[in-house]
Symmetry: C2
Subunit: 425 residues, 2 copies
Amino acid sequence: MLFEKIAALMPGGEVKQGCFVGVRGGRIDYIGDTPPSQEYGERYDGRGKLLLPGFVNAHCHVPMVLLRGYAEDLPLDRWLNDKIFPAEEKLSGEAVYWGSFFGIAEMIRGGVTSFTEMYFFCEDIARAVLESGIKCNLSRGITCFDDSSLSELPSFSEARDLFERYHNSGDGRLYIDMCIHAEYTSTPKVVREMAEYAKSIGARMHIHLSETKAEHEGCRHRHGKTPAEYFASLGVFDVPCTAAHCVWVEEGDMDILAEKGVFVAHCPTSNLKLGSGIGPVARMLEKGVNVALGTDGAASNNSLDIFSEMKLAAILQKGAGCNPELMPVLDVLRMATLDGARSQGRQGSGEIKVGARADLAVVDLESIGMTPLHHVPSGLVYSAGSRDVVLTMCDGKVLYKDGEFLTIDIELVKSKVREFSKIFG
Amino acid sequence: MLFEKIAALMPGGEVKQGCFVGVRGGRIDYIGDTPPSQEYGERYDGRGKLLLPGFVNAHCHVPMVLLRGYAEDLPLDRWLNDKIFPAEEKLSGEAVYWGSFFGIAEMIRGGVTSFTEMYFFCEDIARAVLESGIKCNLSRGITCFDDSSLSELPSFSEARDLFERYHNSGDGRLYIDMCIHAEYTSTPKVVREMAEYAKSIGARMHIHLSETKAEHEGCRHRHGKTPAEYFASLGVFDVPCTAAHCVWVEEGDMDILAEKGVFVAHCPTSNLKLGSGIGPVARMLEKGVNVALGTDGAASNNSLDIFSEMKLAAILQKGAGCNPELMPVLDVLRMATLDGARSQGRQGSGEIKVGARADLAVVDLESIGMTPLHHVPSGLVYSAGSRDVVLTMCDGKVLYKDGEFLTIDIELVKSKVREFSKIFG
């Protein structure tokens, strides 16, 4: 495909006007002010539009779209124990497959080209990923409440099988990560064994970290360490790792995260909605911690919309810190694109440059909400919404264009989601 | 118009399924489970849709859509002095007219049927209001930096003329309120005189109150009173009053606001984005203060979208207070509808009941972001967006339907906004 006369969000945030971007073999092959001499097949009229790197949703539980709006305004323990856990008991692989497909469609429509996922029924999620054309770092959540070894856990067998069967599948679109759900749902033994296993197979790790005050303080009480100190001591951060939430991390924790190159998946909507709190994200950035953006599951959001997360991430730190200079737009855009791709170990994605993977989104710059447009990057963060996305492309393949899904029968998927969402009662 | 087989959000939050709602003479004339015997003209197939009271944007500076994205991520003093004030110097009545028209279009598209406005070039705003068909409580912002009497201020002459000429015009769609911009931009003399004048003519008041810590502390320093104590002592709260922001109000201030029946216009996006802070809204509600929702101007938001404000209002208090039970969805919906209408003195609006003004919006319940729909009110607050609005009606007249504006030439207005937004350089 050849994008013609399009504005492009370049590395560093410069907006290059009226340029030509050629895509071939899943990669960006040409960027120039003039038309290329080579042929790139279909031509896309990019006037009035912006080409940007596709967004990365760095923390998600995608099948939970089935539970969108199922449990609201409840304290976390009742939310989990009275509503979410009993509902999840009723899930089947088929429900997870259709729920995942639908959540993926919502993300694709909003310009998301890759997401980092933690759940169960992972084979069914993998099928939805592979069929939809999106990218995903998928992990089976591991929990352990007794003195089992990792190898004794059925969930670990699933994770291992998943890795052997699916890692790097779909021409590298699907990665399988290893996972410990959280400190309070596991034991030091399985955490250490999982870190060693992940290192041995070259997998990344995905964990929840210091999401709530109760978790953070409880870990101190149980282990004499903060969750970050705990995971660091057990070798988890010696593996490339995504740590979701990090709301209650302390100064020393941030030093650990920065030193170890851990990627924080900041999920501001979910953290607010569940009453978890407001994480020290501006401080993390100041200390050199890598931060990406996630939606968490739709049960606690209720959308899978990176535009909303960008805007909230930007304004929440300003408001909580009473400092409008915190979280400037280019930082936020980088969190949602390049740093998201880096958090997934997808070094060749997240930027518009020759040779990069063609994981791209196109945004209409002429919508009502984007008019007038004094500054393109700030328009993206503060004014745009997922409905302004007019094209989403993954590895050079168009997945969504002008309201149409090219790999998903959206009406079928929607009807299946309606059907399966009834199982919760 | 007759809405057939539509779900309706009834007073108190009950959702009545499959009902018939007849509109005649600008009012809701019939609500029933069966078709009415009377004729209501055009029929509207309401299956899969929700009828709700139109939203009220309780604090806005609508022409500032011209400055959407013009100044970002700056400290308030530089934002105002280096960017906004110099830009406003360049405004003309014509620019304000087109900017207002465009902002009104954005609001109508998002289901807003009325807004409370404070700005200058008010005749031009009034024209846009009257031509567009929306409702508005409009006020000329009054400032005074010397020892003038109110009657000596040109801005007061404008306000008085505006009231005489436009109050209750457009069949009661346009109200003119009186206004003091803020404590720090006026003097006790003009504040007292304005309160007396407003009382004498039966007008409402609109002020900014305790938006920033600097303003709040500065008032204490200048007058030995908080801004709420200051305005109360000068008689402002003896007039029905909307006080925008109230981020830094203290316990005693909230007691005053509750006792005097002042309506707080809570503007969470603007308060965060400008680094003003997080207001104690849950506490205000607990103390019986009336709270409505506003977007503020697009220069500090950057949208005029009440869905975003509802979601942020709901989740921000939960997150800041670490308590997900704060700000339940029905409270937030009431703030955006009924309490907004009450804040404008529009007692016959804001609810779906026979005899109420037909200020209504229709939301598509079958969009991707709203599927599945376990609970309609929470879907409205947490999952819906302004793009899910498929019809907006004011006083029984359809202003927007299925992407089309019926009173606004949106392409013309958009092109004018592009043209006039260039004046700022």
